[in-house]
Symmetry: C2
Subunit: 602 residues, 2 copies
């Protein structure tokens, strides 16, 4: 690429609407341009970075026998209806939806479980054709509530998504682990630091999932991890040890007048007890796809908080017949009026708050979904509300005074908690950006969409599926976020749009101009990826641009050509060195050795 003959520009000023460094730098260095909310043009330098990442991803996925395909982006709405995901995605509002000329609903795909299942249905029909693994690299769409941080949360983004099909849990587990390993290799090849964390499966469904996070202050997710490197989880999913409760001194069951004690703190002060001795009862309202409101009452220990993601998962499981959880919230006073028969004893609720308080009304489930968190399921002689304002009971026990609800872990793990694998290890917190996510889906999609195979005995069986996704454009920006300095981006060698930039300091000097062009042609012939900055600009402008766009190696053709010397500058370290013109190609070839592992024979 000769800059004098190419589409190339950089900006002096930092665009005002870019909040994080990588976003600012990609805009300033001419890699991307914003065309609309969360919508970017990938300009030629960016497209080269994307192609480099894609090539690595493609090669690594092919190593484990995944085969590339390409699925449609526009899906008939019916397909999403059939899989049962339409309502959930629509309630989140992230699904772009349209009608075609025949008024048939279509969605712009954010993910392809349905499409790939349909694509292999009726053709992947013998157990001998399993396992199978298909991948694609493609633009996905999400109607984000708040697109931000450039390519980190955009409405269009490139993903490498893959889908595997299996006749046994072992085979699925195998591929799931292989993909995890391959993803780590991809991150290593790109020079990215990524941590694998336990994750919630969200709208994808399935039992097991793992996220890959780039740790950065600009991340939107919270990661809880231990110093020993043995535990890391998305805060939505994280688990930890909870402290043992302090033994309660209330050995007899009594109701007590406790005026003005609606909070745990005020109650403990009044009763002179510890929060670990209190069962707190928290109200929620859950709304499901078939427009049913379920009142929810969670009993959890006084020193703990509810994790709404965990609670959502529990409710989705309990009420799977109601077609998907649409919303879950702590009801406001106004909302309460809509489904209660009278004033609730807020702040003084007991685990047995009577169902008779729920209004008998269409669309309202007539019973509380009572959920008991593990933090209180073995508590003895505890303190809790008395279902009457300004009153609590103490010395209460399960079985005797209250019935246990649906037992579950709905507790929020927090910084400072002790880790389950080693109580000496305390949870620490960091911000992260998800760049990959792998899932064991089980038979959900195959079951609902009718994918079946014949086993060796000729019986029809439902296959198991896994799905795996890597954010290509997000990876590209994550590299710039992890690797930059005050002068610009510092691309890793594997991700850089070009390996070398040849900067001719003064184009008006024929010796420099000629040497520059000669080296450019020689470098290209030797297989180096090289840009030639042969613009009529001052040397200072060219050096600034080279630093800004972040090419790993800069060769400056300046006055030194008189002594047959050029200057080699390492972008990452700023190191400079005079090199004889006749040696520079070999030096560069040595530095740019392709470090990718050799690919295995399939």
């Amino acid at each position: 690429m000769r800059l004098s003959q190419s589409f190339f520009y950089t900006l002096r000023e930092t665009p005002s609407d870019a909040e994080i460094k990588s976003h600012q730098l990609l805009l300033r260095a001419g890699f991307i341009r914003k065309l609309g909310s969360g919508s970017y043009a990938y300009l030629p330098l960016m497209q080269r970075v994307i192609h480099k990442i894609e090539a690595i991803v493609r090669a690594e996925l092919e190593r484990i026998q995944a085969q590339e395909c390409l699925l449609p982006q526009l899906h008939p709405e019916d397909l999403w209806q059939e899989s049962g995901r339409l309502a959930a995605y629509q309630s989140e509002g992230i699904l772009f939806h349209l009608q075609d000329r025949h008024k048939r609903g279509q969605v712009l795909a954010p993910t392809h479980e349905e499409a790939v299942t349909l694509a292999v249905k009726d053709v992947l029909k013998s157990h001998r054709q399993y396992p199978a693994h298909l991948f694609q690299i493609q633009t996905k769409f999400r109607d984000e509530i708040r697109p931000r941080f450039g390519l980190m949360r955009a409405r269009e983004f490139i993903m490498a998504d893959s889908y595997s099909f299996h006749t046994s849990a072992e085979s699925l587990e195998d591929t799931y682990q292989q993909v995890g390993t391959v993803y780590q290799r991809i991150f290593e090849r790109l020079g990215l630091n990524v941590v694998a964390v336990e994750a919630d499966s969200g709208a994808m469904g399935g039992q097991k999932s793992r996220e890959f996070m780039v740790l950065t202050g600009a991340g939107e997710d919270e990661v809880l991890y231990t110093q020993d490197g043995l535990y890391a989880a998305n805060a939505e999913k994280a688990d930890s040890l909870f402290s043992p409760p302090i033994k309660s001194r209330f050995t007899e069951h009594h109701k007590h007048h406790t005026p003005n004690t609606p909070t745990i703190a005020s109650l403990c002060a009044f009763m002179d007890c510890d929060p670990t001795q209190v069962v707190k009862n928290v109200l929620y309202q859950a709304i499901f796809a078939c427009e049913v409101l379920v009142p929810v009452l969670v009993s959890i220990r006084g020193d703990q908080e509810v994790n709404s993601t965990k609670l959502s998962n529990v409710l989705s499981e309990m009420f799977s017949g109601l077609g998907g959880l649409q919303s879950l919230e702590v009801p406001t006073a106004e909302q309460l009026q809509e489904w209660t028969t009278g004033e609730l004893p807020l702040g003084y609720i007991a685990p047995d708050l009577p169902d008779s308080l729920i209004a008998f009304r269409e669309g309202v489930h007539g019973q509380f979904a009572r959920i008991t968190d593990f933090t209180v399921s073995e508590l003895e002689n505890f303190v809790t509300g008395a279902n009457e304002p300004d009153h609590h009971v103490y010395g209460a026990n399960w079985g005797g005074n209250f019935s246990l609800g649906y037992l579950a872990d709905v507790r929020l793990a927090k910084v400072g908690d002790r880790a389950r694998h080693d109580p000496e290890q305390l949870l620490q917190s960091a911000r992260g950006v998800e760049v990959g996510h792998i899932f064991q889906l089980g038979d959900r999609y195959a079951d609902r969409l009718g994918l079946r195979y014949q086993d060796a005995q000729g019986h029809a069986q439902i296959p198991l599926m896994g799905c795996y996704g890597l954010g290509i454009t997000r990876l590209a920006q994550a590299i710039a976020e992890q690797s930059h300095d005050e002068n610009g981006i510092v691309w890793t060698l594997a991700s850089a749009p070009y390996q070398v930039i040849l900067t001719v300091a003064n184009m008006a000097d024929p010796a420099q101009a000629e040497t520059g062009l000669t080296l450019y042609q020689e470098f290209r012939q030797a297989g180096l990826e090289v840009m030639l900055d042969d613009r009529d600009e001052r040397a200072g402008v060219k050096f600034k641009d080279a630093d800004l766009i972040g090419i790993p190696y800069r060769v400056v053709v300046g006055k030194g050509v008189q002594q047959s010397l050029v200057e080699l500058v390492i972008r990452q370290t700023g190191e400079k060195q005079q090199v004889a013109i006749e040696d520079v190609q070999l030096v560069l070839l040595g530095l740019c050795v392709d470090r990718k592992p050799s690919s295995g024979v399939l």
Copy 2:
């Protein structure tokens, strides 16, 4: 690729809804699967064909300094409003349209003139940055009225589209010609026969355009061409010589009673005259974007027909202020009642049909757009209607009796017409599929979207643009349409998903199985693109599959391994030949030499 471990299938039966051979074969051979109307999954074999075509297109476009980028697929509707194309595309109904969560209109792009102009606006600002040429390879969307023929007319399809920016008409012409040449090289490398034809610019606008057509009976376009190869045009655009008129014997102007002569044939029989002596006046109604109906009256020679594409272009030009032509039709009796004041003398209309016949009504233009075709503009002493039922005039002349309207070529060229470049050559007709189209757009998009540059004198100027498109998925299917036989597809070497298929006749024979695997590994290491058919199937099934999927070279590892022989079968000719195992790799390397021209140094 080892078939025993890969996603692979073929179908015995021809799918019932596939009308043309290439569509049937791609479905049967497991290259594509239909997921919805005009919506296809490209399965692994297809994806390899697509990648091969894309790689050739990429290399050839880079030869002429085009740089790859990627633009968003979802565009704000405002952008299309600004360029003035929204109405025209919406009236055709081919634009997928949706609203995002903020109720902002978005369109799914069928083409990217607006987006690319916006992407370079404010950064391509000095004349020194011109010319510039950006391309992308991407899925496009069209809400087709009738998706058909598989990938030939799908709702999603892959295009390689490029856009160039210039400071002079010469520079635009240069790039336009370069792209034309490069397209021809691409077709040649792919082994496709393609003819370049003059074309109509349609909704794209601009002055000059050329289409590239694959000639095939399954084509949806009509091409008119001459045997000498010097002329070819889309029938929508084609021009030809019209025969000189026979001199009229009606030297005096008279009105005549001509009962029951509403057609040219009946009139000529009654008057004993030739159709070339008659001026026929044809009514149309044109509806424009701002909901105005314009009555149109076209005067054309009695032996000629009106070309509605040419007429649409003329009207769009005449009424460019009315925001784009939405529809053009010959009005029905009912439609006529809506905008006329009384009965029209249909079949007896004269060029001066009075405007007073048009109803004075909102949304109806009060004057006929009178268009005079070149076939009648110099006619003398002609016969035409008298604006009175059962009456004509003869011996009429322009100037004296009638005024000429807007002079234009709106005549339909037909098979058998004499060619303009050589009257000895007669136009012939063929069906074709458009696989490429290049346009000189002029300044339309830059002007409307505010793209400006500073010239050497510091003055703001509007650049000129070109745009160029190649249908990647259409090319892929066109190859299968041009190159197949009764047994299946016959891919050209440059487009084949694999160059070689190694077929082990009997996997139960250890010598065959081992030789097959050894050759597979050796071929791969030598850089051959090879599939190994190591399935537990009968040899006959494997041979049929190999023919169906159309791999250029088949190496059969059968009983001959005892004599160290394998069989080499050429797919295209069916030729078979015994080759020593030790020689077969070299023979194949010779056959698969990459024939692509070496790429020049940029």
